[in-house]
């Protein structure tokens, strides 16, 4: 088996530079590559383009990259109430491309699967359809959407092995498997890294072929955006 293990987050992101295009896994704060994001913040890169479903919160997740003004462009489906985002966007310092969540997921999936474009009904009749090719199939209209690929993908899984095989937990899976396949260099961080052979091949969600580097992160905060409990 090919050993993909790297020392730590710093080592894993060593060749990410100013202006890189990054896929960042996670939905809200759930399943985000915490260690990778913190390493990016320490490296203080500029002009990054990030593709992430959300923009994090002011002091966690993608919000940390916004706070240090490291982003040139954000491609997301929902940015929410991030004050830092709003200020930079209004000042014209940050580009934003909003994409319907399902279209975002499928564009990334297509990127990893070698499908350059596909037709989807989402967005027909809305301003997101402007300038895009529309075609009728069986009496309904569909929009042409293109694949998304990136230089790097940062994904987070629950368990992984040194061959790069990944297993996710709960809804922390979300965009991570799609992004793992769509990154030219995919960096996986896991809560538990085990030697190849210790994970049950029947249970693997992301096969190791999609992962170029893997490391075990330490001290996961796993912050929760909205704690809701039953009375």
């Amino acid at each position: 088996m090919i050993n993909k293990e790297v020392r730590d987050a710093e080592d894993a992101i060593r060749d990410i530079t100013d202006g890189s295009v990054l896929l960042l896994g996670g939905f809200g704060l759930c399943g985000i590559p915490e260690a990778g994001i913190q390493a990016l913040v320490r490296k203080n890169l500029k002009g990054l383009t990030c593709i992430s479903n959300n923009a994090g919160v002011d002091d966690f997740g993608v919000g940390l990259l916004l706070k240090k003004r490291m982003l040139k462009k954000l491609i997301a489906s929902y940015v929410g109430e991030n004050k830092e985002f709003e200020d930079q966007y209004r000042a014209g310092e940050l580009e934003l491309e909003l994409i319907p969540q399902g279209t975002l997921a499928e564009r990334i999936r297509a990127g990893g699967a070698g499908i350059p474009a596909f037709f989807t009904p989402a967005g027909i009749g809305s301003e997101l359809a402007e300038g895009k090719e529309i075609r009728e199939f069986d009496g309904r209209l569909y929009l042409l959407e293109r694949w998304i690929k990136a230089d790097f993908a940062l994904v987070k899984a629950w368990k992984g092995d040194t061959a790069g095989n990944l297993i996710y937990k709960g809804t922390a899976r979300n965009f991570n498997p799609l992004m793992a396949a769509a990154g030219k260099t995919t960096i996986a961080e896991v809560e538990q890294l085990v030697p190849a052979g210790e994970l049950d091949p029947n249970q693997i969600h992301t096969p190791g072929i999609y992962v170029q580097r893997i490391f075990e992160g330490a001290g996961y905060e796993k912050r929760i955006e909205n704690i809701t409990v039953s009375p």
């Binding site: 939905f27 809200g28 704060l29 759930c30 399943g31 479903n53 997301a76 489906s77 929902y78 940015v79 929410g80 109430e81 709003e86 966007y89 209004r90 909003l98 319907p100 969540q101 399902g102 279209t103 997921a105 499928e106 990334i108 999936r109 989807t120 009904p121 989402a122 967005g123 027909i124 009749g125 809305s126 301003e127 997101l128 629950w158 996710y168 937990k169 709960g170 809804t171 922390a172 899976r173 979300n174 965009f175 991570n176 498997p177 799609l178 969600h205 796993k222 912050r223 929760i224 955006e225 909205n226 704690i227 809701t228 409990v229 039953s230």
Partner: protein, 220 residues
């Protein structure tokens, strides 16, 4: 006039046994609390779960288990987890039977505007755009009027449209409406203490009132 909880209770009556349902954020999320126990239905969360359960006990909070509103949740027996591309394949592919969503506005021909807009900026759309473009029966839950008193049931939406000719029924604090094939809001039920004339005044789009309109029930 109905409270948000009462709107949610009334919509819960539209749910049928055996349905797979996606509930949006806001009033739709409340609907889950009022689904009758004898119905077997499955709630989807578009981040990647079929089988949303109630909010957890505080001792069972799991950061790896959240719904589309990023709230901590639990799973029911028989749940399944998947990635976000699969979640939307279920939606676009016609496997989800019904979607209950909030909206900024609905037009008389069934167009919907449901971006998240705050302080004058479009903050995103999440999965709403994919849901309104799917074959799922689309029910809308919203207050009848904006905060400034202007109607949310309009001839044409003031806000940018997210989907065209897709809304089946609308449930507001004033009544229940269907969209007529030729365009127009057909009043099906009125809220207690709200007479149809008031609804007419607060509906900017074409309102059709035919015959005796029953009072809304089933939300108590």
């Amino acid at each position: 006039m109905l409270s948000k909880e009462q709107i949610a209770r009334r919509i819960a009556r539209e749910i049928k046994d055996g349905q797979y349902i996606n509930l949006g954020i806001g009033i739709p999320t409340l609907v889950a609390n009022y689904i009758p126990d004898h119905l077997q239905v499955v709630l989807q969360s578009e981040n990647g779960l079929l089988g949303i359960g109630p909010y957890p006990q505080s001792s069972d909070i799991n950061p790896d288990l959240v719904n589309a509103g990023k709230e901590t949740i639990s799973m029911v027996k028989g749940s399944s987890l998947f990635d976000s591309a699969d979640a939307f394949a279920m939606i676009r592919g016609g496997h989800i039977d019904m979607a209950i969503l909030g909206a900024l506005e609905v037009s008389e021909n069934g167009d919907i505007s449901n971006w998240k807009i705050a302080s004058g900026l479009i903050k995103g759309v999440g999965g709403a755009l994919d849901l309104v473009a799917s074959d799922a029966k689309l029910l809308v839950a919203m207050l009848h009027c904006h905060k400034d008193g202007s109607s949310k049931l309009r001839k044409q939406c003031k806000f940018p449209v997210t989907g065209v000719r897709c809304v089946h029924k609308i449930f507001t604090d004033l009544g229940v409406f269907s969209i007529l094939p030729e365009g127009g809001f057909k009043l099906l039920e009125h809220a207690p203490g709200v007479d149809p004339d008031e609804i007419r005044k607060k509906t900017e789009g074409r309102l059709v009132i035919k015959g005796e309109i029953p009072e809304m029930t089933g939300f108590q």
